[in-house]
């Protein structure tokens, strides 16, 4: 378990930022979600070793969150949300500089900077001044400085903001690669649920300073065994009649998605048989799961 915390609490004056947060994060990428003001940034500050909690204890990579804060920061990489760079430098100098500040010897930092810049896709541009970088390039640069010292945990704060669709896809691919292949624990904080769905294996949802939900994505997004979502081409009316005759309830949403509620113990092959009988093509067939958005709404309790 790379992160274990118990009963974390913190207040800014009278404002309760975190209250009694207990969790254990281990394998796989973790998504951190919550409405604004839910306490995500405070939690991140504590986990990254900037802030000591008022109450509670924990370990990040076996380092105590109160006593070993500097050690935590050495082993952790942070990709901030807001724009940040140092003017007058080129990418290699920038990345190597922060590698050095993390504790790498100068030559090592320089070598690593080159490697990491290639990895994030800035290889060609690595000698150019940062002032000339586009928004997408600055985003990748932030990722590079987070990776240069080979951290064991990587915190990413809204990594795809300000990127155009191609840039988003590429950065997500990079993160996916890091999360799955490189044995680095990735913690992703984002408001874009689709990003979290596509990368993270588990989620942590905070609301009003408390833990609202935590667990593996598959477990939380309850699979509703008897509900299937279909798209077909063909004689829809006939298909519906067939299904209803077998005791299924059939609904259709406005964009022509057909929801079929199957009775207890029914065989899903029956759906296909019904399709063949009515000459209908089955074009999309998915077991219904709560979307992350619905889970979020349900857990955060608003709306």
């Amino acid at each position: 378990m790379s992160i274990e915390v118990k009963d974390l609490s913190f207040r800014y004056g009278k404002i309760v930022a975190l209250e009694g947060v207990t969790m254990r994060l281990g394998e796989g990428a973790v998504g951190l979600l919550g409405p604004n003001g839910a306490g995500k940034s405070t939690l991140l500050r504590i986990l990254l070793g900037f802030l000591a909690p008022e109450r509670g204890e924990g370990k990040v990579l076996d380092y105590d969150i109160r006593r070993d804060q500097a050690l935590i920061r050495r082993a952790v990489g942070y990709m901030p949300e807001s724009d940040c760079f140092v003017a007058g430098m080129d990418a290699v100098t920038f990345t190597a500089y922060f590698g050095e500040l993390s504790g790498m010897p100068r030559q090592e930092a320089m070598k690593r900077a080159h490697e990491v810049l290639f990895y994030v896709g800035l290889g060609e541009a690595r000698y150019r001044l940062l002032d000339t970088y586009s928004a997408g390039m600055k985003q990748r640069l932030k990722l590079a400085q987070a990776l240069v010292h080979d951290p064991k945990i990587l915190f990413l704060d809204e990594p795809t903001s300000n990127l155009d669709p191609t840039g988003r896809a590429e950065v997500l691919e990079l993160i996916r690669d890091i999360a799955t292949n490189k044995s680095i624990q990735v913690i992703l904080s984002s408001h874009i649920l689709e990003d979290i769905e596509s990368i993270c294996a588990s989620v942590v949802i905070l609301n009003k300073g408390r833990l609202a939900a935590e667990g593996r994505m598959d477990d939380l997004r309850a699979i509703r065994y008897s509900l299937y979502e279909l798209r077909i081409k063909g004689d829809e009316a006939a298909f519906r009649r067939e299904l209803e005759a077998r005791g299924c309830r059939v609904d259709e949403t406005e964009d022509r998605l057909i929801k079929v509620y199957m009775p207890e113990g029914a065989d899903r092959m029956d759906l296909f048989r019904a399709a063949v009988r009515t000459g209908v093509q089955m074009r999309s067939f998915v077991k219904s799961r709560t979307s992350l958005e619905d889970l979020f709404a349900g857990v955060v309790g608003v709306d």
């Binding site: 082993a75 901030p80 993390s102 790498m104 090592e108």
Partner: protein, 290 residues
């Protein structure tokens, strides 16, 4: 059997060590960035001019007979004693030179980081606020020492070389200490002054204006106040004058103003304290994550 390396991210098998001075890269980078600025090298080179003039004066004074014709009326100027050093090390010309050089090298030290949000990158490292400030202050210290302490200790050495004996040192044994003291004073003051102003704004150009402006405006202010109140104590409002007072005390020379020197030291210490306060507020590691 050869290993095929895959393209992509490879782990680094080195180890991250704590170094004794974790802030050294900050200093080194600050110095390098200063040199990259246009015109800086010229400014720095010009800044050594007074030292060369002083060197020339030292040489001439040693070889007075050779220059007899030239220096008939200027005999007094060429008496080499602590006052000679004091003249160069505590005057307006030196302050001006330092301010020009530090505008290049120091104005943006904190301002640029504030403007571009770089603080969050610094503090995501095992770096404390103290380390950050030390690293930045060291950039200012580097240039101040380079322009004051270093050349002036060398000048003492040159004097001894030109004279061929240690008589000078025997006559004024505490001169090197005065020089060191003055260097320390200037380093502490300018370190505080420049960082204080650099942390007060996100705009480097504005900081440069402040660096010049506050320094020289304080003189103007004190002159005005002296005119109104007719009291020599008003010089305490002027930063350059306080520096001169303190410098004079360090060289054992006559105080330029009829004000107890301890007040000047207090004013200068006040600037340092103010700098510490402002830096403590502006350089906040907790705000790394909003």
């Amino acid at each position: 059997m050869a290993v095929v390396r895959e393209k992509g991210y490879a782990h680094w098998d080195g180890s991250l060590a704590g170094r004794r001075f974790p802030w050294l890269p900050i200093t080194r980078t600050g110095i390098r960035l200063a040199f990259r600025k246009k015109g800086f090298k010229l400014a720095l080179a010009s800044a050594f001019l007074p030292a060369f003039v002083a060197l020339g004066g030292l040489y001439v004074s040693e070889r007075l007979e050779d220059f007899k014709g030239l220096v008939q009326s200027n005999r007094a100027l060429l008496k080499i004693d602590p006052a000679y050093f004091q003249l160069f090390l505590t005057g307006y010309p030196l302050y001006f030179i330092l301010i020009v050089v530090l505008s290049f090298a120091g104005a943006g030290l904190v301002a640029e980081d504030l403007k571009h949000n770089a603080l969050q990158l610094y503090f995501a490292r095992p770096l404390s606020k103290r380390d950050y400030v030390l690293g930045k202050v060291s950039v200012v210290a580097f240039f101040v020492i380079l322009l004051t302490g270093l050349p002036w200790i060398l000048l003492v050495a040159f004097k001894l070389i030109f004279a061929g004996n240690l008589a000078f040192l025997a006559a004024y044994p505490w001169l090197p200490l005065s020089i060191l003291g003055q260097t320390a004073l200037l380093t502490l003051f300018f370190g505080s002054y420049v960082l204080l102003l650099s942390a007060s704004s996100r705009n480097t150009r504005y900081v440069i204006v402040l660096i010049f402006g506050v320094f020289y405006f304080s003189s103007v202010l004190s002159a005005i106040l002296r005119g109104i109140f007719r009291s020599p104590a008003m010089i305490l409002f002027s930063l350059p004058e306080n520096l001169r007072q303190a410098g004079a005390a360090l060289f054992g020379g006559k105080l330029p103003h009829a004000v107890p020197v301890v007040w000047s030291f207090l004013v200068l210490a006040g600037i340092c304290a103010l700098a510490v306060a402002v830096l403590a507020r502006k350089v906040r590691s907790v705000e790394v994550i909003k």
